[in-house]
């Protein structure tokens, strides 16, 4: 894992100091709320419906047990005893007092963490593949490149007042586990015909009210020009992205309005110019970063488990994923217990996960954008002991990638932007499928719920998506089908008129019944939908 050197630590310390001073000047009346707002946002502090929310950055979703443990302590000390893991591979605390914020930032800085650029119109925390460095199917570990970009994007002098927020994801496998093409910039590390490693750039994806899949604008950027190319992409956006309407200010609108060819032409021109300016970090820097992500000392051991306990066997089948070393797996800790709040964990549970990472996973954890936690390197021989302890802490739900593994935004229970509640809906749906026992039969089925058009719950990318809207003062839910955030990326389509809360739960049941009736051998819900189209689902939902 990456470790700060003195420079990195100084930068974070300087920022904590700067924010303390800004908060002080706000209290002294030297800053208006309008002037203070972007500053607090760039330090992760949001004003929600009932309280402040603090979003903590977890760069590329990777953290060690000491950091995880500190997150548990913050939940107990400053929040109501829990934290909420988000779709940005971050954690947020929903019940923060403004006067505690600087102290929390200081607690975080002691474990090399911060809340920098987790909000605001700047380059946000960079996300990546949650199985990076562990999976058997990657070209290289994408995180050194993400770290290089983390440094470049932190406190960038030119790109701190962009037209709108800016999200970057970096992957290095054909399989996309990071929703890469639904980012402002999606980078895939690839190998060219000459056998060299480089970066493929996709620009202008995103969800929100106008979902778009990012087109590829460059199939290969040499690694010693990676930062320069990103800088060119950002400069064109900073200069020409729309600022007249915040709903049209994301880069996806610029790329769409200019057209991919014209945007690309402008980027290439800027890139050619910037190459002469020498903005690229020295090549040695990437080589310095890489060893931090070297493999831990794997050992050969048993490659199978004793399946005599059916509950354990089910968990192994559902929640463990093939590892590059055949004596290991990546184990997913589901934060989706039946009837629970997706992504929530108590301070105690967070500390337990930290301890288990230390004991069983070379001190490393990952946050998934699906709001679960990964122990990336677990010996197959240790799985039973791990599962026993997870189960005892209510962390053993065997439901990875099933209909119970729901992504949901905080919704109207917390968020000032929301039109409808998301959490209670997720709770009721997982309970209903658990009771009917259909979860297993349905297999991989990604259900995603957003409480408003801003799409924080990724409903556009759900095999089944639910969008909460306000209809004449009442919560109403639109159902959509056929989205995917993976390498087969697609945007979901709305089925038709919306439903009330009970109605949409029934509607989810109805569309899954259509799938069960119509599926062919080996098809997931998404595959069946793609083969038979919307009509049979519509007919079942609304009649002929």
């Amino acid at each position: 894992m990456y470790k700060y050197d003195n420079y990195d630590q100084q930068m974070v310390d300087a920022r904590v100091e700067e924010f303390r001073d800004q908060a002080k000047r706000r209290l002294e009346g030297k800053l208006t709320e309008d002037q203070f707002k972007p500053l607090r946002l760039m330090n992760g502090l949001y004003l929600q419906l009932h309280a402040y929310m603090l979003r903590v950055a977890i760069p590329y979703g990777t953290l060690n047990s000491r950091q995880m443990s500190a997150l548990g302590d913050i939940a107990d000390k400053y929040d109501r005893g829990y934290g909420h893991f988000t779709t940005r591979q971050n954690i947020q605390y929903n019940w923060i007092k403004l006067e505690d914020a600087a102290d929390i930032l200081e607690d975080l800085s002691k474990v090399e963490m911060h809340a920098i650029q987790t909000s605001g119109n700047c380059i946000r925390n960079i996300s990546s593949d949650h199985f990076a460095g562990a999976t058997h199917d990657e070209l290289v570990d994408p995180r050194p490149y993400a770290e290089l970009l983390r440094q470049w994007s932190s406190f960038h002098p030119e790109f701190t007042y962009l037209p709108r927020k800016f999200k970057i994801a970096v992957i290095a496998a054909e399989k996309d586990r990071a929703a890469m093409r639904l980012h402002d910039i999606g980078i895939q590390i690839v190998k060219n015909d000459a056998g060299e490693i480089g970066a493929r750039f996709y620009v202008g994806g995103g969800m929100g009210r106008t979902p778009m899949i990012a087109p590829m604008i460059r199939d290969f950027v040499p690694l010693d020009q990676l930062v320069t190319y990103a800088e060119a992409c950002l400069r064109v956006y900073n200069r020409y992205g729309r600022r007249d309407n915040k709903y049209k200010a994301r880069i996806k609108i610029l790329v769409h309005e200019l057209g991919k060819e014209e945007y690309t032409r402008q980027v290439e021109e800027e890139f050619a110019h910037l190459l002469k300016q020498g903005v690229e970090p020295p090549r040695e820097e990437l080589e310095r970063i890489k060893p931090f992500f070297a493999d831990p000392p794997f050992e050969d051991g048993p490659k199978t488990v004793d399946r005599s306990d059916p509950d354990f066997a089910l968990w192994v089948d559902r929640n463990t994923v093939r590892h590059k070393h055949d004596s290991y797996v990546s184990a997913v800790i589901s934060l989706k217990p039946v009837g629970g709040i997706p992504g929530d964990a108590t301070g105690e549970q967070i500390r337990i996960m930290a301890r288990l990472a230390r004991q069983y996973s070379f001190d490393e954890l990952r946050v998934m954008h699906t709001q679960n936690i990964v122990l990336p390197h677990v010996k197959i021989a240790d799985l039973h002991a791990l599962w026993t302890q997870l189960d005892a802490a209510d962390l053993g739900a065997p439901n990875l990638d099933t209909i119970e593994d729901i992504i949901a935004c905080p919704g109207l229970d917390y968020c000032a932007l929301a039109n409808a509640r998301s959490i209670p809906l997720a709770q009721r749906i997982s309970e209903s499928f658990d009771q009917s026992g259909k979860t297993s039969e349905l297999g991989e089925l990604k259900l995603k719920i957003s409480g408003c058009i801003n799409a924080c719950g990724h409903h556009h990318a759900g095999h089944i998506g639910i969008l909460g809207v306000d209809k004449k003062g009442k919560e109403n839910y639109q159902l959509s089908l056929g989205g995917s955030e993976a390498e087969d990326v697609s945007l979901a389509k709305i089925t038709g008129p919306g439903f009330d809360e009970d109605g949409v739960i029934e509607a989810v049941e109805t569309v899954t019944d259509v799938y069960l009736a119509r599926r062919e051998e080996g098809e997931r819900f998404l595959d069946t939908y793609r083969r038979i189209g919307m009509t049979p689902f519509k007919e079942a939902l609304y009649g002929k």
């Binding site: 420079y7 990195d8 930068m11 119109n121 440094q151 002098p157 701190t160 690229e280 020295p282 820097e285």
Partner: protein, 150 residues
Amino acid sequence: MGNDFGTSPDDVQFRFRDDEVADHGTVTVDACCDQTNATAVRIEPGDDARALLPFLDRLALVEVNFPTFGDGRGYSAARILREAGYQGELRAVGDVLIDQLSHMRRCGFDAFAPDKRLDEDDAAKAFATWDNVYQSAADGRKTIQELRHE
């Protein structure tokens, strides 16, 4: 042409240059491209800074206006001019606030004429925010990555 369009030397609160403060009639980017004798120009957020590149030799002052501090186009304009070799005064004017000073300085601004005068102590602290920097920019500072590999 009088000084009613641009800022006057009196409006400049911070300046990091030793030469005389330019006191010229300031014109728009369009006017600067049309008339051959203008030596001071003011860039608005929607202007293309590159339109000025043919005239950099004759310019002594470029003002970059920030009508609202949240509009960050002026940061790119500043860097573009410095990257093209512009050596004259680069003055940030308008809604220029304490917490933007350090980034503006990095992008090549060397004079500041805020609409409202800023607290001198707060500003001094703001200019000194970063002992080190992660990115190469217009201030020519060595980056952390360069220092690591010296």
